[in-house]
Subunit: 152 residues, 2 copies
Amino acid sequence: MNHPHVETESILRRALEQSGQRYTEQRAAVFRFLRSTEAHPTADEVFLSVRADVPGISLATVYKSLETLVGCGLASKLTYGDGSARYDGRTDDHHHLRCLDCGKVLDLVDHVDADEVHRLEASARGFRVTGYRLELTGYCANCDRAGGAPPA
Amino acid sequence: MNHPHVETESILRRALEQSGQRYTEQRAAVFRFLRSTEAHPTADEVFLSVRADVPGISLATVYKSLETLVGCGLASKLTYGDGSARYDGRTDDHHHLRCLDCGKVLDLVDHVDADEVHRLEASARGFRVTGYRLELTGYCANCDRAGGAPPA
DNA sequence: ATCCTTGCAAAGCATTTGCAGTCAC
DNA sequence: GTGACTGCAAATGCTTTGCAAGGAT
């Protein structure tokens, strides 16, 4: 943690090299921004923020960069039905809370118990399980307070 | 289970009445088809199948009908990143297996233990949880056999 | 020098919408 | 008879693509 910027840059360089791709200012800026936020931004939000670092960047390049990062395992794409995809710079195994009112996505700081996961895998007969995704839905503190939410 | 068609029809009539909406041949055909399959079809697949019952139906009407059914709680919408949404006529609480190769969605005949769910809810501080969604990903018997899948 | 990447504009695809005619109640 | 629903076509919104110019190795 001594040189966070340098470390981030070399992580990216290494990952790109491994797949025969090139290090560019645009990809670096997108990667840096994703690492700096917990807001799970949409492609457009990434675009708007990254323009501060790289003024001429285009939305198409942001999409391409995000796809590249996901392909390298440096980010993940979260897809919900409503509107656009969101991107997450965290690569460790974790899960999400999603507000049904404002659409905000929060990190869940807990895991499904490993035994429970194995039990579920066992009931998936004839299917080779390689991963899982869990999402709790409900209402965030802000929207709950606003009273826009049914009491379930 | 003596008159499955009749029962299906009255379930739909009742649900529509409750929300001030009308019973139509198109909605009935979409509902019947969703109930008859476990294939988790896309809107387009629903459209193609339902045309056998209601030749003149339009894709827009299929979309509207599916939305109506979801709104009445008679179906649910499954959204993954790849392409189009899928619809599920089952309304009981259950989860899914999704093949990363062919995209097929299967039902998981098991639940997350209730205690485990409560434990996770408790770690979602400041967030009122109203539901959750779990999806196991991997490779179905067909695709696994075909060898198109990395060994994890 | 090679060939990957960018930015632009246009295309693509799933889904939604506006509206006149039709139908359920 | 009234208001909701259908079908058509056009529109929308997110994302991807083709291509010429520029940049990384």
